[in-house]
Amino acid sequence: MTTLSSPGPAETDVVADGTTATRATPARARVPWRFIGRRVAFYLFTLWAAVTINFFVPRMMKGDAVDNYLARNRGISPEAADALRALLGLDSDRTLWQQYVDYLGMLARGDLGVAITHGLQPVGQVIAGALPWTVGLIGLATVFSFLIGTVGGALVGWRRGSRLDALIPVTTFLSTVPYFWIGLMAIAVFSVALGWFPIGKAYGIGTAPGLTLEFVGQVIRHGTLPLATIVVASLGGWVLGMRNMMLTVLDEDYVTVAQAKGMPNRRVLWRYAARNAVLPQIQSFALSIGFIVGGAIIVEQVFSYPGVGKMLLDATNAKDYALMQGGFLVIVLAVLIANILADVAYAFLDPRTRQSEA
């Protein structure tokens, strides 16, 4: 029989401390610098990688914007064409590396080049003209869809087995139908047949943009149909996602505890069940925010809406590299910013992430 005493400072009062596998950690909220630093480094790297790919890919394609421009505009002298190439950074006597460095330098100065398809306007200006329309229309539609779908999904999940369940196949069906079909059908029915809404465009021809009542009214009239169709088409995912999470969360003990505590149903539903079930939705929401610009292409094409999506499609067709690159840069930035927002939102909504990554 050997008895070894355990000396040293490692020994603590197990009873007082409650020695278990899940040890308590200090309740103080510390700023997780290490975590933040890692995230920042990750985002910077992603940005660099995206910018670099953005630089190289168009240069690997055959033909350039000037060839395209020449084909459409006769009578341009070879000297003028070369000058145009130099202006667009396409002059072949500079090495790829030099062009890359120049490109990064321009980006750092906020200079995105000129858009050959828009009368050599700076790309930044062209994008700035298109972006508000896209963010306004599709951003708003995404937010609406998320809110309606999440609240609806919470209610459907809460009342499982009730008649509300019939909503699920309907919304799911609508989200599986190709979007352009819904869009075209909506135009055919509500604009052409019933004449309730104007066909396409962001505002009527002949209306001067400005903060006038008439213009705002036009924007709303023109925006309602595309907005409604996007919401209808994307609602299904939110409803289904939230409902399924609700079903999982409703089986959690803390929901039963809340009921045993005599909490009113509304409180159990929103403060206990939905509050937890919404967490995965936040992640998807951030992702879909990031895809607003990319997802705009079809919507804007169907409704001839003057946003970034349509701009990007036109630029690609015309091989306007500077504008394409600018457009892709906007998409990348949108995705990155959305992810940063998701990180922040998650840290606020889920106390566990604040600590576990530290």
């Binding site: 197990v14 009873v15 401390d17 409650g18 020695t19 278990t20 596998a21 899940t22 040890r23 308590a24 950690t25 200090p26 309740a27 087995g161 959690e252 003990d253 803390y254 039963t256 505890v257 809340a258 009921q259 045993a260 505590k261 005599g262 909490m263 009113p264 409180r267 403060r271 206990y272 509050r275 937890n276 967490l279 909504l349 889920d350 106390p351 566990r352 600590q355 576990s356």
Partner: protein, 273 residues
Amino acid sequence: MSDPLLSVRDFSVRYETAAPVDAVRDVSLTVHRGEVLGLAGESGCGKTTLAYGVQRLLKPPAVIPGGSVTWHDADGSDTDLLALDPDALRAFRWDKVSMVFQGAMSALNPVATVGAQLADVFEVHRPAMSRSARTAAVGELLEIVKVGAARSRSYPHELSGGMRQRIMIAMALALRPQLVVMDEPTTALDVLVQREILREITRLREAFGFSVVFITHDLPLLLEISDRIAIMRAGRIVEIDTAANIWFRPRHDYTRTLLSSFPRLTAERKVAR
């Protein structure tokens, strides 16, 4: 000890699934004021279903085909729990009967501070209380279970299993109920922490005088803490008696089987090696 607190008569619970399951069958028992009643049996014997069922906490497809549950309040009035309308039932819950749940880990809402989860009991049941009075009451509860008022701003994941279970006990005591139902409150805890929690329950019972229904499969533990023990098997109570009688003079074969399925810590080893 003969003063009844809760009378359950011919109580049954059935799960109306494709093949209906009678989880609790014609159970009759009385919880007396001030006692600790142990409810023992293997998993699936219906002990948890019984405890949830009398408080009407079961969800469909569970149904209660028969029986009565009567609450004999300290003020002398009797209440038929199965006949309460939803609002009256909500008001009754936690105020008269509260619970300590099995998984201290999962019984607390992970995204709310423990203080907020304690406070909402007061918000709902004592709407007249001011915010500062609530905060004070929450702090006092956390002090009572020796967690400390400072922890009210902690989230569940920041606390050890033992602390979480203490917080669940604090929550159960918030409205000074007459009965606390404890469903395997110490099963997930280490033996030293388990003992500490049990001492805590004993101390609080002496201070506040509530009755306890203690549900566990751990019969040796139950023998030490209960006044009376009910042994459940397949939805029925096969034997109910004082702890000493269960230990020294078990009458039912199943009770004997259960007793013999625990190795003795300090007695002669029964199995020759």
